[in-house]
């Protein structure tokens, strides 16, 4: 009897055990995902597609990327000390960390675009809706490639995502040469990159909607004019000087492209919704984001609007008043270059309305005293262009990493100046239409118009100076110096040691390799088939 009872209890207990063990074998081991998106559960609807497109935009906003776009500005010398003194002291090389981040982050944005493009293509959206989204993503990808091709010259041209993880792994030592034919590894020449960029921008231009400045969805999204303007700049860049990354030295570009650049900018002048903001200082004001002069900008929002700090930018922190001057903070990164500033004042005097927006030259301190630059910690004027609507006495605002101002990638004044430059280079003696762009910019700045007659060479110099004054600190100076073949002259011109910046090399060591950035050691060590740029 006892044993039978035991048996009964045993089966009861086994039953209990099985109730505890409420799972069957393989279902139990399927990994459950709660807080992340997987391909299995996403990209089903138009809303999902839009979310994927915005993710690509977000890559530009990433703090690892945006301010590094401006780093090379320090190289010719209009500005000093971005993050560290690597650039304006010319003390960078193939193992400089910032160069790696620029390279890596670029490919990150490209990969995000590559991932979302096939999703849009295979979605069941209406053709025109689909093409609108595709054009935005293809514009953004072209923009990143255009930055890269000007920095590095040659690089892998990646347009798809890896199908398996094996495709993305670093090739082993002694790998077969065919391995390096992969899109992820094969180095592509500058010309082919440009061909790709132009095709993409032409497609985007044809499929993007016209900007309406209607607020809402239009704000900050890529529109037709953005593609046209970028296309113009691509042509202009192709027409200018090119560094020969195989053998070193500068070469003339493709002169036929001047006319194409002129044509594209002319299209925007003749028929587009963009116009110059009447007052120079209003262009950069936070409250005036996405104004009619802005063709494309990177979007930020401060917490005062959103209630959260996550979409705020670091413009104030990076470009605000520097370190020990009036705040206890040391990480304001950019200071002005004194010789650049002085040469500007010498040329135009105080009549130039841009000076007071571009620089902070004195302020009233906490004790009510006026403090002017020129001594103590306030050696140079402060960079003030992007933060001129910040209250200088509000220390916490000056430290904000929560600033809503949108860094401008392309604005109409740039298009006007490009138009004058392209027409001047493409044509013979300057004519009235050649002067239209530069004079529009000069008039707004309170400067006298340039009048005919003027020689092609004199106008070239005038346009060059105008670009520096109008667009300084906006991320164009290095690219402009590269295109015009003026880089080494500009470095020499703005050699400024007043701020204690010690250049690593004497002037005569500086050679033409600085026209291009080195490909980072990490990239070459992972992919030995990459050739280093000549000189590096």
């Amino acid at each position: 009897m006892k044993n039978r009872k035991n048996m009964k209890n045993l089966s009861l207990l086994l039953g209990l055990a099985l109730t505890f063990l409420t799972v069957s074998c393989d279902d139990a081991l399927e990994e459950e995902v709660f807080d992340s998106v997987t391909p299995a559960n996403f990209f089903q609807t138009e809303a999902d597609v839009e979310v994927g497109v915005l993710g690509v935009y977000d890559g530009l906003q990433n703090n690892s990327y945006w301010y590094r776009q401006f780093m090379t500005e320090a190289l010719p010398g209009s500005v000093g000390h971005f993050w560290n003194e690597t650039f304006n002291s010319l003390n960078y090389n193939n193992s400089t960390g910032n160069l790696w981040i620029m390279w890596e982050q670029s490919y990150n944005i490209i990969a995000n675009a590559n991932a979302v493009i096939p999703v849009i293509e295979t979605s069941s959206l209406e053709e025109d809706v689909k093409n609108g989204y595709l054009a935005e993503v293809r514009y953004l990808r072209a923009l990143v490639y255009f930055n890269m091709v000007r920095w590095y010259g040659q690089m892998p041209l990646v347009t798809t995502v890896p199908e398996t993880i094996d495709e993305a792994t670093v090739p082993q030592e002694g790998a077969d040469e065919s391995v390096f034919e992969s899109q992820f590894l094969k180095q592509v020449d500058r010309e082919d990159i440009y061909t790709f960029i132009i095709e993409e921008l032409q497609w985007a231009e044809a499929n993007l909607a016209e900007a309406t400045f209607s607020g809402g969805v239009d704000n900050g999204r890529a529109r037709k004019g953005a593609a046209t303007a970028l296309l113009a700049k691509v042509y202009l860049t192709q027409a200018g000087y090119q560094y020969n990354y195989s053998s070193g030295g500068l070469e003339q570009g493709d002169g036929s492209k001047w006319a194409m650049a002129a044509q594209k900018t002319q299209e925007l002048i003749d028929n587009s919704p963009y116009s110059l903001e009447p007052n120079f200082e209003d262009i950069f004001k936070n409250e005036n984001d996405n104004n009619e002069e802005v063709i494309f900008s990177i979007q930020y929002l401060e917490s005062a609007i959103t209630g959260v700090t996550s979409e705020g930018g670091q413009t104030v922190a990076r470009f605000g008043i520097r370190g020990s001057d009036i705040t206890p903070f040391s990480w304001k990164q950019a200071f002005s270059n004194l010789s650049f500033y002085e040469s500007w004042v010498d040329a135009n005097g105080e009549d130039d309305k841009r000076l007071n927006t571009t620089y902070l030259r004195s302020y009233i301190d906490g004790d009510g005293n006026e403090v002017t630059y020129g001594g103590g910690n306030f050696i140079r004027p402060h960079l003030w262009k992007f933060v001129s609507d910040v209250d200088v006495s509000d220390i916490s605002a000056l430290n904000a990493t929560d600033y809503g101002d949108n860094p401008i990638y392309m604005r109409y004044a740039d298009v006007l100046l490009m138009n004058s430059e392209a027409l001047n280079e493409a044509g013979g003696t300057p004519a009235a239409e050649t002067l239209y762009g530069i004079n529009a910019v000069r008039v707004r700045a309170g400067q006298p118009e340039i009048t005919l007659p003027i020689s092609k060479e004199d106008l070239r110099e005038a346009i060059w100076k105008e670009r520096k004054w109008e667009l300084c600190y906006e991320g164009h100076y290095f690219f402009d110096s590269q295109r015009t073949g003026r880089l080494l002259d500009e470095i020499a011109l703005n050699w400024d040691e007043s701020g204690g910046t010690v250049r690593a090399f004497p002037l005569d060591v500086i050679d033409e390799k600085y026209y291009i950035l080195p490909i980072h050691f990490n990239a070459i060590s992972a992919n030995p088939s990459l050739d280093q740029n000549a000189g590096w």
């Binding site: 979310v51 809402g216 959103t306 700090t309 996550s310 040391s330 103590g376």
Partner: protein, 998 residues
């Protein structure tokens, strides 16, 4: 039909008595004639048995000719063939040998003498001999082959336990802890006093029963349970005082202002523009700076630890209960840092019927840690201990208006005033922990038992931080609050069938089989806010804030399903054999690789039991040879590593934030276990009734290492976890226990341990860009080799490239490095292994003396041949850019043309290569970690035993290391250990303790 089956079953099990019996009764005592409760009395060859009551009395039905077996832990088994007697009087002989100790082996127990693998046991006496706060600290030096590194000496600071070397680069190297059957990764919340026994399973033949989690070793803990007998009460308390006795020898105000001025001048600063120019109270002239502020002194206090533990236990034949309460309160040596823990524990087991028993083990713990902002375990140059270095000593603590000063050194202005941090900053972590296990054991047949259990651990952690407006950060943000809440739920179900039998007195067989299932869910959320109108709320009224940060929440889950089995066979107590297998499935791995098989075999030969050894019995008391082989795994990786994921990447559109996503990780369906295959051979020998020696040699190879491998960056994904690479450990451990003097009144016992481990990276991808290198151990890193200070132009010219530009822009007075390939460029080809934190060997020596009721225990331990990367010194010896206070060693000892033999390079240099020479130091040390003098008072009325002790910890250390403490591990991690980065000062401490049992 039914009836037939029933009869068949009856005859099979044959337990129904078909003959008549008599009632036998008796009493059981020990050798001192004290009644012995709880002894098991069984009839040999049957499942019939009873337990003796409180007074050692028992009654059992048996018949003439049957053999009664009396057994009790700690006593030799007694057997008695029944004659005609009806009343018995049994004297049990105490078992003095430790060989018959029962040890935990995972899903079962075994006699110590039957072990075939490498298992170290630590008794509760050894665990509590030092007044420590955590189990990690308690096992330091108590088990050979176990390295315990202190991550932080701060209150509540953790330890890293590594058994027989690092097996992994990326996955965890921490062993698995199993407390009363519940696998845990953290046992800092368990009171050492609650532990009855602790076993360290070291080789694969022992740990393979834990399969995919056995590779790093397993530590099994059994907590105290009630015993049959009269109720017992024990109470213990102790009080510890801690003091910091060493500091960094930093400069005072005058010394610093002088050297700072010298540095400014050396760097070309205009003499009219010096920092210490007397322009304000915070920028005095060097001559007027005086002593200034010793910031270290300002944040240090005398630490205090109070500990109380009370335990009640009782047991009858059918029910055994133990309840305890423990309380620890630790005020750290840095102001503002403290830790307290209160734990309640219940262990109960009941026999419902002879074949059914049940029980519950339950811990409830509350921990409260207040950080003094010392930045435990982060390894970065932040936190209070670092702020002390960063602050200018020429700066007073307070401004004239009573507010805290802010550091004013150029380049370090954002650094918080450490006095403000320790007094005003809130950083509180509260943990609630429940560890519980409910089980039912069924003995349906003789020799068979089935145990099913359901348990787990549940943790809630809340961390609240508030930066008040009196601090710099808080001041700018108008107060800054942050709350993090994490819930962890870990559920374990185990179903184990055990069989144990012996045949013909020669063969013994133990078998275990089972199915287990575990799942863990972690949910987390955090909120942050700034801009409070008052500091009064701390983080307790976050909705009063003006600005809110991005809220965060997450959830993840993993599951593990396992089948396991083990057979142990012993022949004649001479030949022992064990075979183990476990089949584990984990949700963390790729679809095709979820399951792994982990087998092990081991055997032992008790040579001394052989006939041919009889003559040597007095010389070789016991000799046993062991060998084992096994395979174990490591599944200790994050979740969602095998899946393709997307990450949130929101973007503003107009005036609102719109959702965005971007690609996260790439899918890797091939992801699978790390597998460690290990071989162990061991010998246990006892000689001259004086020496007990255990020696082991092992070899472990880990393949399919889970490594974060860099992907081609053009793919947009920077790295992925892949199975690649191979790592090897081999090592030797020996432990010798010597009873030097063993008389009735005076005893002198000496225990010594020695442990040698060699670790080598056999293969690895991406070697060129990694700090580590194939053929070297983990943790070893490369760097440039220092080559002395450049004394003159000729030496500088020799250290220049082909254009005559000095390498790295160096100047005279800075340290050069060896350009091994003489190509005028210093690059990765000129780097060598310059840092190896792995010791040649480590050792422990524990002498203990006792005379009558006085005992003296000492504990020394040491490490030999390791290096420490002294990143703390790298800061206060920095002469290039001065952004913090400096070591007083620099005074008169930095290079100038007049002082060419100086130790340190010149002031305001650019970037010399002195790190290897100055900051990589020999970390060998020998420490008297503990000395303890104890008195046991004679039995006094109600009090069964009373003891009182005095002990001192961290008494002295013999070392060449220049930092505060050579036993340091600021950056715990498989590949980054041995770094001293602003480590919390290790105090010397003195304890008085008292214990009473009644």
């Amino acid at each position: 039909m039914k009836l037939k089956l029933f009869v068949f079953l009856l005859s099979c099990f044959g337990a129904v008595p078909l003959w008549s019996q008599s009632t036998i009764s008796g009493s059981i005592t020990d050798e001192q004639n004290q009644p012995l409760p709880g002894v098991n009395v069984t009839i040999k060859g049957t499942s019939i048995g009873v337990a003796a009551d409180f007074d050692g009395n028992f009654t059992i039905n048996a018949e003439q000719g049957q053999t009664l077996v009396f057994s009790s832990i700690g006593f030799e088994n007694e057997e008695l063939v029944l004659g005609s007697q009806r009343t018995l009087s049994i004297v049990m002989i105490e078992n003095t040998s430790s060989l018959d100790e029962i040890v935990l082996i995972g899903y079962g127990t075994a006699r110590k003498s039957d072990l075939t693998g490498a298992i170290s046991s630590v008794s509760s006496e050894d665990l509590t001999i030092r007044p420590v706060q955590s189990v990690g600290q308690a096992i330091q030096g108590q088990a050979t082959g176990v390295q315990v590194r202190t991550n932080s000496a701060a209150p509540g600071g953790g330890t890293s336990v590594v058994i027989r070397g690092q097996n992994s680069v990326n996955s965890g190297s921490a062993p698995l802890f199993v407390v009363d059957g519940i696998p845990l990764t953290n046992i800092d919340n368990i009171s050492v006093e609650d532990i009855e026994s602790l076993e360290v399973l070291k080789d694969a033949s022992s740990t393979a029963i834990y399969g995919s989690r056995g590779a790093n070793g397993v530590i099994l803990i059994k907590t105290k349970t009630g015993k049959i007998g009269k109720p017992k009460v024990s109470y213990s308390t102790r009080l510890t005082i801690e003091n910091v006795t060493s500091d960094h020898n930093l400069m005072n105000g005058k010394e610093f202002a002088e050297i700072f001025t010298a540095w400014e001048l050396a760097g070309g600063t205009d003499p009219s523009n010096l920092f210490y120019d007397g322009s304000s109270a915070v920028r005095p002239l060097p001559s007027e700076a005086g002593e200034g502020t010793d910031w270290f002194d300002e944040i240090i206090r005398t630490g205090l630890i109070r500990n109380h533990q009370i335990n009640f236990s009782s047991g009858s034949e059918t029910s055994r209960t133990s309840v305890s309460l423990n309380y620890t309160d630790h005020e750290g040596v840095i102001k503002g840092g403290d830790y307290s823990r209160m734990g309640i524990r219940l262990a109960n087991s009941m026999d419902i019927t002879p074949w059914l028993s049940t029980g519950v083990n339950l811990f409830v713990t509350h921990e409260n840690q207040n950080s003094s902002g010392e930045n435990t375990n982060s390894g970065s140059n932040t936190g209070t201990v670092n702020q002390v270095i960063k602050m200018s000593p020429a700066l007073p603590i307070f401004n004239d208006d009573g507010t805290f000063t802010a550091n004013n050194l150029p380049g370090a202005q954002g650094i918080e005033n450490p006095v403000a941090v320790v007094s005003d900053l809130l950083d509180e972590t509260r943990d609630w922990d429940i560890i519980g296990n409910f089980y039912i054991t069924l003995n349906p047949f003789k020799n068979v038992s089935f145990k099913t259990s359901l348990g787990g651990d549940w943790n809630n952690r809340k961390r609240g931080q508030y930066n008040p407006t009196t601090t710099i950060t808080g001041g700018l943000l108008g107060g800054s609050a942050n709350i993090l809440n994490r819930n962890t739920s870990h559920i374990v179900n185990e179903n184990i069938l055990s069989y144990s039998n012996s045949f013909n007195d020669k063969h013994r067989l133990d078998a275990v089989g089972g199915v287990t299932y575990e799942e863990q869910t972690v949910e987390e959320f955090s909120v942050s806010a700034t801009d409070f109108f008052t500091d009064a709320f701390g983080y307790d009224n976050i909705d009063a804030a003006g600005v809110f940060g991005q809220p965060f929440s997450s959830k993840n889950k993993w599951q593990l399903l396992s089948y396991l089995g083990r057979v142990n066979y012993a022949f004649d107590n001479k030949y022992l054999l064990s075979a183990v297998a476990r089949y584990d499935g984990s949700s963390r791995f790729g679809d095709g690789n979820k399951w792994g098989f982990f087998p092990a075999v081991s055997g032992a030969w008790v040579v001394s039991s052989e006939g041919f050894m009889e003559n040597t019995e007095n010389v070789i008391n016991r000799l046993k040879l062991r060998a084992g082989w096994g395979r174990t795994g490591n599944q200790n990786i994050g979740v969602q590593q095998s899946l393709a994921t997307f990450n949130v990447a929101n973007y503003p559109v107009g005036t609102s934030i719109e959702s965005g996503v971007v690609a996260g990780g790439l899918a890797n369906t091939n992801l699978q276990w790390e597998t460690t295959t290990s071989t162990n051979i061991g010998i246990d020998v006892s000689l001259f009734n004086m020496f007990d020696i255990t020696a082991e040699y092992y070899q472990k190879t880990t393949t399919d290492l889970l490594l974060d491998v860099a992907l081609i960056e053009t793919s947009g994904t920077s790295e992925a976890l892949l199975n690649t690479g191979e790592l090897q450990n081999n090592g030797f451990e020996i432990s010798v226990n010597t009873r030097v003097i063993n008389t009735d009144n005076f005893k002198f016992n000496l225990k010594t341990d020695l442990f040698v481990n060699r670790n080598e990276i056999v293969s690895l991808v991406g070697d060129a860009t990694q700090a580590w290198k194939i053929g070297n151990p983990l943790g070893a890193t490369r760097g440039y080799v220092s080559d002395g200070i450049i004394q003159n132009q000729a030496e500088l010219d020799a250290f220049s490239d082909e254009n005559g530009v000095p390498i790295n822009g160096l100047t005279i007075g800075e340290e050069k490095a060896i350009d091994f390939n003489n190509d005028g460029v210093l690059d990765i080809d000129d780097q060598r292994i310059t840092f190896d934190p792995n010791p040649d060997f480590s050792y422990a020596i524990s002498p203990s003396f006792s005379y009558k009721n006085i005992s003296l225990d000492l504990f020394f331990y040491g490490v030999e041949g390791n290096q420490i990367n002294n990143q703390t010194a790298a800061q206060f010896l920095s002469t290039n850019i001065i952004r913090n206070n400096l070591s007083a060693d620099l005074i008169g000892n930095y290079w100038t043309p007049e002082n060419p033999d100086a130790t340190y390079p010149r002031l305001a240099g650019s970037n010399g290569f002195h790190s290897q020479r100055l900051f990589i130091e020999d970390g060998s040390f020998l420490r008297l970690q503990n000395i303890r003098l104890g008195f046991t008072l004679p039995q006094l009325g109600l009090f069964e035993s009373t003891s009182i002790y005095f002990s001192a910890q961290n008494v002295f250390t013999i070392t060449d290391y220049s930092g505060l403490d050579p036993d340091v591990n600021s950056t715990p991690g498989n590949n980054s250990f041995g770094v001293d980065r602003n480590s919390f000062p290790v105090p010397k401490s003195y304890t008085i303790g008292f214990q009473v049992n009644f």
